[in-house]
Symmetry: C2
Subunit: 595 residues, 2 copies
């Protein structure tokens, strides 16, 4: 059995928890009545499990092949799957209808994207980056450029990439050297080398549109002198079709630990023709618009790999017979019991199940804020949604990928020695998931973004609103029933998060090293608190459904998984709080040469 898309859980979140139908008065949502949503989920599940998932292993084992003529061949089967995906219209679900998109809420395209990235992460990066590049063009480029590129990129007929990194600069884009010289006709000559360009060259599309960060001659040094350019592989001709070949090449591929099915390219630009997106020297601003969306997408990758690895481990644990249960034989007809009878195997599986289901709810809840931040007619509600989206994005990226990777590590452990062999899929999940903690800004950078930009933004309005929301929920749901452990845990979580935020405000101002030293622990503490809230929301609605007479075991199982979250995952929050409060003094006192 390969990966099975979690359609039932998506329905639970969209319908029971988020009650998505109540937004049907908003644009986009109005085009997606429940029948349409169900169709997207079912068809998405079918395509990703039947077409993409079977290609995941071959993508890993065969990988991408670079040839001396600067072409790159994707793994067998990718080309056909890509074509089918474009034909089925999976790329433009939430894009602007003006350019061929379907204009649906982003939360729905994320629903598809989770299945896609879980089924085949390396493959799904090609459309993912194309979508991101199209969004950046949509956000910043002139109508002329939009009209030229978006009708090809939105459906995925052409590919797209993001070119940021150079050998001397990754996180620190202020150091970038790629240069842009005006041609005098509105276009520029782009020259430089970019590395780690996902999908920089491949055989899936007729054209590839590179978004390239470069420095216009004479621009200021550092991050203030960086501009963003469209640099297509083939210059569009008068009819908008691929014309003259531009002077850029993929001069090699990186050998990597994972995502072998995605071409990670070294790109060489030599007086390549490019067009400015937006104003000169405002490249980073536009790129960050796109990166914020991309970061949610990377969080989704962490979640997706965790779920796929979990499914493989759960299946293995039900089938593998070793030892007898400590409380008596459970499988008398077999030579041993399935290992799922053993508490420690259940511990590893439930650690992931409780994470995945909580994280999925958190990601969808956050994505809904993203949609509302664009679509809500009420100013205050729209701004609040925008605050949340900004605040929670680094948490979604950092927490979900750190824990998503851990889930893959645990899934391998459930497999025992089998997991370490490449006959089982879990090694690939682990190796693929590892990059999610690094790219689109390492998780350390996410944590700095969280404490340095997002937390203090608008005098801390976002975090304060979030804390009040948690407190209100706890106060409104006090009582002695089945919800009590969830409410109690939420109250503790809220206090811990508030305590940490206060500590940061008091100590981070005094010495920024204290804030930076606390940042990753704070991000994790935030993640635990957010999931405590999600589990409280999920528990409340599950209790209500059961009370209404619902017999689907999903609702009882949610309560078990949620209690497990509180008992077995949430205790780490206190540990993060204790660590972060120790500040930076000890770590900064170590002499450099003692490392």
């Amino acid at each position: 059995m390969t990966y099975q898309p979690p359609v039932r859980d998506h329905v639970f979140i969209l319908k029971d928890v988020l009650d998505i139908e109540k937004y049907s008065n908003l644009p986009g949502f109005s085009d997606a009545p429940w029948e349409v949503i169900e169709q997207i989920l079912d068809q998405g599940a079918k395509f990703t499990s039947e077409v993409l998932a079977p290609l995941n292993g071959v993508g890993d084992k065969v990988g991408c092949k670079w040839s001396p003529d600067f072409t790159v061949a994707t793994p067998p089967g990718f080309k056909g799957a890509y074509k089918t995906m474009v034909e089925n219209g999976w790329l433009g679900l939430s894009s602007d209808p003006k350019y061929g998109g379907q204009g649906l809420p982003r939360i729905l395209s994320l629903s598809y994207s989770e299945m896609s990235t879980a089924a085949n992460m390396a493959f799904s990066m090609y459309p993912g980056l194309t979508h991101g590049a199209a969004e950046a063009i949509h956000a910043g480029a002139s109508d002329e450029l939009k009209d030229l590129y978006l009708p090809k990129m939105v459906p995925g007929e052409w590919g797209g990439t993001m070119n940021l990194t150079e050998p001397q600069c990754g996180t620190d884009l202020g150091l970038l050297r790629t240069k842009a010289v005006p041609n005098g006709d509105g276009s520029y000559k782009i020259t430089g080398q970019k590395i780690w360009i996902s999908g920089g060259e491949h055989d899936l599309t007729d054209n590839i549109v590179h978004l390239v960060l470069a420095r216009i001659e004479g621009a200021p040094e550092g991050v203030k002198g960086i501009s963003l350019f469209i640099v297509p592989k083939f210059l569009p001709d008068a009819d908008g079709n691929p014309g003259e070949r531009n002077n850029l090449q993929c001069v090699g591929l990186e050998e990597k630990m994972g995502i072998h099915g995605n071409a990670t390219c070294v790109m060489q630009y030599e007086d390549a023709k490019g067009w400015l997106i937006g104003e000169p020297n405002s490249g980073l601003k536009i790129m960050f618009v796109m990166m914020n969306e991309a970061r949610v997408g990377v969080g989704l990758q962490g979640l997706g790999q965790a779920d796929a690895a979990y499914q493989a481990a759960a299946q293995f644990a039900k089938e593998r017979l070793q030892m007898r249960s400590l409380t008596g034989v459970k499988n008398p007809d077999g030579p041993a019991d399935p290992i799922i009878v053993h508490p420690d195997v259940r511990r590893m599986l439930l650690d992931t199940k409780a994470f995945v289901e909580g994280a999925r709810c958190f990601l969808f809840w956050t994505a809904l804020r993203g949609d509302l931040s664009r679509l809500e007619p009420d100013d205050a509600e729209r701004e609040k949604a925008g605050d949340y989206m900004a605040l929670l994005t680094p948490v979604v990226k950092g927490f979900l990928t750190d824990k998503g990777f851990k889930a893959c590590v645990d899934a391998m452990q459930v497999h025992g020695g089998s997991g370490f062999t490449e006959h089982f899929p879990v090694s690939q999940y682990l190796r693929d998931a590892r990059i999610t903690m690094i790219y689109e800004g390492t998780n350390g950078i996410q944590a700095l973004d969280l404490i340095g930009r997002k937390l203090p933004a608008k005098n801390g309005r976002g975090i304060m609103t979030f804390l009040s929301e948690l407190e209100s929920f706890a106060n409104e749901n006090d009582g002695e029933g089945e919800l009590k452990p969830f409410v109690d845990a939420l109250r503790t979580s809220k206090d811990q998060l508030q305590d940490a935020a206060m500590w940061l405000m008091q100590n981070g101002l005094q010495n920024p090293d204290h804030a930076a030293a606390a940042s990753v622990d704070f991000m994790h503490l935030f993640g635990y608190s957010a999931l405590a809230y999600m589990w409280a929301l999920m528990a409340k609605v599950s209790i209500a459904r059961i009370a209404e007479g619902e017999t689907d075991p999903l609702y009882q199982n949610k309560l078990i998984t949620g209690r497990y979250y509180i008992e077995r995952l949430l205790p780490d929050a206190a540990s993060h709080l204790a660590k972060l409060k120790t500040g930076a003094d000890t770590m900064m006192s170590m002499p450099v040469d003692a490392f």
Copy 2:
């Protein structure tokens, strides 16, 4: 810069912390005055860093190659390095001089082994398994078999393997099917398939001696009917040289995530000639003698990979220039500061440094108990050392490999995107380290061994003695000086460990699932407590040396690293305690089909 063996830290542990010279009245120790120890450390460092470390990458990239004639070629360079290693006598350091060993204490051979496994884990498994197999023969075989095999195996002229696993049984050896039929001349015909046999076939030695678990015809079912056999690739001739080829073959290699330089073989035995070691049906007992030693060796692998990965990350962090320090420019002549100025980079490095130095001390402290359990003339002291060695072995294996792997994950994170590429060594460290959590008994099995066998052994004498030792140290070192935070932390740690042990005794008897559900958290809590003790020992001696006028900065740096351990690592102990006390009820209440 490749891996640099931590000779200075070994000297600190052996001389300052363990005061190894005080055991010079004991056999073995008397042959190793300090000059000899220094020579072992220096020569070991030279050989492992100059010969083994440079072959680590090629071992990963080229791997082992199986041919249809059933031969296996090891990676380029391995053969020459193996020959040098044998000629230099590195294999028999702690083996019986009667068979060509040097009879030194095992703690000294571990000192070499740490360097060897950190420099090249895949390579070092060949001599490691040979040593283990020789120890099993030494422990259980007849003098005739010993005389025939050990003079060849002890120096490494012949290789050795352990054949336990079969496709249907890994952890659950009771299910094994390989059969042994008496030939009537004292030998047996061995038939069956064994998988995951490290070093089952290779080109490093003239002969390979397989130790094979099999069931003698008519033996009882389950673990009570398993015997251990010597099954050599070539039957020794009258002169003890490789003679007739035995009927066993390596029919294929496993594709694995890491340790590509070590041949992981599928072995087929067809009426292969074998000789019983020890009594019939006592195979597991002898194998476990060897496995207990091997488990310490696997803990050492976790530690070694952590240190090697840490060194690579620290070097990268000192050289890579990105961003400026938050507290002002530190490298005004460069375009940016080295990333080691950033608190979060230091956090990742110090998480590992504090683990590695504490874990190394713990492993050596434990290994010394192992030596004393054989050599101490005083009965009570010898038994106490034996109790400790038994109790702590699963903690050494499970805690050091779980945390060792985490260290490799963190080292990759320090590298950013570079770490995910195979141009840097850290991907290999991560991939190689991952198996240490699985083999020689998964870490879940270690935890069950700890709570099920080791904790209750002799009415809990081992754990009670250990807890008293921690308490005594705390009481004897009370005060207000620099040692105070270490003593305070130790007291808390001891209370937590005691609390957890009490909980286990009370709840595990009532329901074994509670104990099993708590087992891995207990093992980690134990690890944290043990390292808290080690850091207290190291801090005490460092304070004393500084007071004596020692100016080596190592002593001050130990105090910083130790405080970091207390502030930033030890808080996880409370989290493990909170988790384990929640018991098994929630996890066992989840229906199987809900996973």
